[in-house]
């Protein structure tokens, strides 16, 4: 994993180096090509932070904000600006690695108190956001289960799916039974809707 730390410091904190010996440390104006994860040092970036976050969000780059003060409100603001994590800049190397692992797995890392506040905010929006269609985690499905599910999403019946995939109808049913359980839907109608990004 490729870590890029952005700060106005002369050199990165030793803790950062300890966690990621191969990290790249750059100034605010520098390019960040090829970075898997960007770490922003809010304490030294100061006023440049918001603009920096907007830029990273636009190019869909995952980033974590490191702050001198564990301020919940700042954390929420960071997450709303697209941050995948918010932590103390003096966090222990082990914790930094932890955060990197979580973010790499597609997760969001913030402290417990912050998370509760974030949850409060998102509670109201959750339903509406769901109606827009948030990506479902289809990675739980195997290749064949996914293939069958996609055909269901097109409106095909079992016989047609069997024909398309070159298997028997029984096999199609077997994949569907597992897919229903994994995606927690009741039947093919709900699966079809799910596959088209429609929340049930």
């Amino acid at each position: 994993m490729n870590h890029v730390f952005i700060s106005s410091l002369a050199k990165p904190l030793s803790r950062w180096l300890q966690a990621f010996p191969d990290l790249v440390h750059v100034a605010p104006e520098s390019a960040i090509d090829g970075a898997d994860l960007v770490w922003l040092d809010a304490a030294s970036l100061k006023a440049a932070l918001p603009e920096m976050m907007v830029r990273l969000q636009l190019i869909q780059r995952r980033f974590v904000v490191l702050d001198a003060v564990p301020d919940d409100d700042a954390a929420i603001k960071a997450v709303q600006s697209g941050a995948c994590g918010y932590a103390h800049r003096h966090a222990k190397p082990a914790q930094l690695e932890e955060i990197a692992a979580v973010v790499d797995a597609g997760g969001l890392w913030v402290g417990p108190s912050v998370m509760q506040k974030v949850m409060q905010i998102s509670k109201f929006v959750a339903r509406e956001a769901a109606s827009v269609g948030v990506d479902t985690d289809l990675s739980v499905l195997t290749e064949r289960e996914l293939a069958v599910a996609q055909e269901v999403g097109k409106g095909l019946n079992n016989r047609e799916i069997a024909q398309v995939l070159g298997v028997t109808e029984r096999t199609v049913k077997a994949h569907l039974t597992v897919a229903f359980e994994k995606l927690a839907v009741r039947d093919r109608v709900q699966l079809a809707l799910l596959m088209n990004g429609i929340s049930i």
Copy 2:
């Protein structure tokens, strides 16, 4: 680390065992003394889950909720009830281990979809213009046929639709038969997609 899995299953899922070979698997009524981390299988615990969470929160025991449903509302609710994590019960062993590590480090673990919703809070308003949808000619349907079709579009089955509309299942079928013919679709799956603006 001492893992205790609570479920109503006869034996733990193989994925759990793979992640934690030394796990302890117990029934809902059992004691959980000496557990470092408790995993609750929401899918099998069902209605007993909320009470279980309250109990664990009271004794300050760290716990993670495993659900068959990737439901973000449930995730938020779980965290608000004191859960340190919320994940899919079919999550891969590596992910379960990661969650355990995060929680052990005092963190909170939620999945990508919850994160996405949180991030979409600010963006949501801008996206409403995009939801226009292709207008199918639904005017050929009578009032009741349309009502039934709309419920199908939500993923309900005939019994539920009958209940909602206050008629018998037979009546629902009758309306559906006509609706299929008028809209030139074969079955309820295709109708459900059609009602959601998805071309077949």
